[in-house]
Amino acid sequence: MLTWPFLSGDSMQPTTLLLVLIVMAFIAYQLGMRRSLAVVGGKATQLHSLPSYHGSFVALVAFIPAFLVFAVWQGFEETVVTHIVISDLPAEIVAQEQGSISLVVSNIKNIVSGAVSASDLSPVLQQASDQYLALLAKSKAWLTAVVLMLSLAGLFAAWRAVNKDARTRNWVEKVILVFLIASSSIAVLTTLGIILSVLFESVRFFGQVPFADFMFGTTWSPQTALRSDQVGSSGSFGAIPLFVGTLLISFIAMVVAVPIGLMSAIYLSEYATPRVRSIVKPLLEILAGIPTVVYGFFAALTVAPLIRGVGANIGLDVASESALAAGLVMGIMIIPFISSLSDDVINAVPQAMRDGAYALGATQSETLRKVVLPAALPGVIAGILLGVSRAIGETMIVVMAAGLAANLTLNPLDAVTTVTVQIVTLLTGDQEFDSAKTLAAFALGLMLFVSTLILNIIALYVVRKYREEISV
């Protein structure tokens, strides 16, 4: 969005304009600071606010309104210009393209960017693209004029307002506080954005495919026909095989991760010498820092052939993209989550409880199994839930190591597919945004978001509750 190759005109480039605005703000800062010192004859102590606040005040007034206009203008410029060009097009052109405006627009833009020579298309489109360019140039010129005027006017007015008693510090600090509040709202806006974008597309999907068919159907073959007279590919969106596949792989992962993660946490926090602990803990954390694409590569090219080979040796028929390989490697990935969360909760169990058990003559492992672990259980369970939510949402390992075949099976040696694999498959490559195929990805995304959200909320609630109880 910063520079488009075809925007070169006589008026200023958006980036240049932005730079000019920033330079103006710097100048405004200097001017404001000097004026504040000048009005009191250099005795800064007589001012209500420090000179730097006066400077910041003038700079902010010169910058913020102009920048807001700039940003809004940039955001809507193309839409507005395109709209004007389209509304001026003769009706038969639109009709000729079977009423699809977006195609016309992309044709015009192709001519504008020089990707397609206009002679290949109709002269009307050439005319439209000329108009498009002219309008854009005009818009740029106006933008430059308006923004610069606004900035200068702000600078001048603020500069005039600087005097001995001007409470610019209060004003500047208020602006900073507004910025802080706005920033902290982004977390909420992001969640809202996720919910809205996923929900909106899902509702459109469920308009085409009934909700019950999606939730309880047992066949998944999202290939819809390109033409209505094609045979055999009507598309069916029963997501049960995906849910089962996801749960199967997650289950295998947890079977690997929970015992290893929990036992290593217990050993590290209760038995290991500080030296061993200081070496092993960072090594375990390395597992958490390895990008998932690396795990995926390892699962697909090393673990899966290994399992297949072992299977062949003992007479088992293992699919080359078996759920076992993906689940195994995913389990290893989740070990550090389980172990670090368990470590936290085990350490949070008060020493008095251990001492009590020792005083009764219990051995260390008896203390751990009968006193510490039951006390830490809610926290451990919360850690496991977070691990499950990781496993369900993990993408790269399954995309690379699990298959695309939507088999409804519980056999870990078969190939299964998962929700995330299907989202990636449906959304990579070319997409038209209205087909059920593309929208299905958003429905799957909704399921994924909701289920992980529920798991996370339960886990976070349990952890919080547990901390409160244990600290009493």
Binding site: E173, A187, Y267, E394, N456, I457
Partner: protein
Amino acid sequence: MGAETNSTRPRTIDIVNAGMAKRHAAEWRFRLYGKLAIAAAMLFLIFMFSSIIYKGHSAFVQTFIGLDITLNPEKLGLGNHPDKKALAAANYSGLVKSTLRDMFPDVTKRKDKRKLYKIVSTGASYQLADLVKSNPDLIGTQIKIWVPADDEIDMLMKGYIDRDLPESDRRVNDQQIAWIDELASQNRLENRFNVGFFTNGDSRDAELAGILAALSGSFFTLIVTLLLAFPLAVATAIYLEEFAPKNRWTDLIEVNINNLAAVPSIVFGLLGLALFINWFQFPRSAPLVGGLVLTLMTLPTIIISSRAALKMVPNAIRDAALAIGASKIQMIRHHVLPLALPGMLTGTIIGMAQALGESAPLLMIGMVAFIVDVPTSVVDPSTVLPVQIFLWADSPERAFVEKTSGAIMVLLMFLVAMNTIAVIVRKKLERRW
């Protein structure tokens, strides 16, 4: 309690002693499970790293073939004083082919000739073209250049293709092996450092494929992420720690941040696709959009660690600043923030490392593209290093396995470097109170 009962009833200490062996065995077993669990995790780590290094170490060297090329202007199709355009259009691949024919004059059949041409990478003619274009005076002279061998030949030389297999099971036939052996005996085969791996973009030919385009894409994506995420996260942390009143709104923000930290990354990809690409009509495959998506994804990480850093600053500092008449903002800017900054930087570096390794959400916004040209701005189509690894891992050629492992090693090196910097920042700059 008389002496009689004592003799008939077993003493408690005896019962305890009788069970001791069993209990100690249980204790020993329990410890063993713990050791086994750690050993399993460590073994896996070692197994994974060694398998990647084993597969990838050879990606950094490559087989080159030395060709004595006579830059005959006639064969190049050039006149006496060729201009730039003529130089660019000259028939370099023809010259490479004729040089190969001259080296093996007994190859006459068309099919065999084609096999012969195949031992040299298609990049050879581009290499020759660049050389001649930068130095036209070479025309007419004989030069010796080292050009990359084809990836199958490279695999053969590195021992990944077994010479003892029957010919039909090999990608390199007997004749090609004979040529290669002859080249080797003439000292025309050399294993050299694979510079192209670091200076080229992606390519369909494994011997020409490099990671520079992906590295550059990662760089621009991370720059966007850093510029957006760091100020926003610090501002959020300051607001929540220093200003926020305890009410429903701030509670909501806190719950949201904790939840976002655990939302699957692919969901951020869906958000990016629906919001930035379909709604705002941002260009697809651009680091700008990738950076925006990764910003939203890494924000919680940086916010959480920045808040921890702010919490570490003792209240006495705040009180002292306020007591001498600083406003709250001045107190934060001049005293609290400088003290908390190392902790915030540590969190930011770790967040950036996370963003560097992330690939799933970027697949959604079209950064999964075949990128040959190195991107030079945040709106150029690009891919990132992890996605490049994903793409290469999908390629069927044997040579790409090596490239993928090599790229993984580079990626891991960057991550190790970033985490080391984070540790150093924490150790050197962070103050303990």
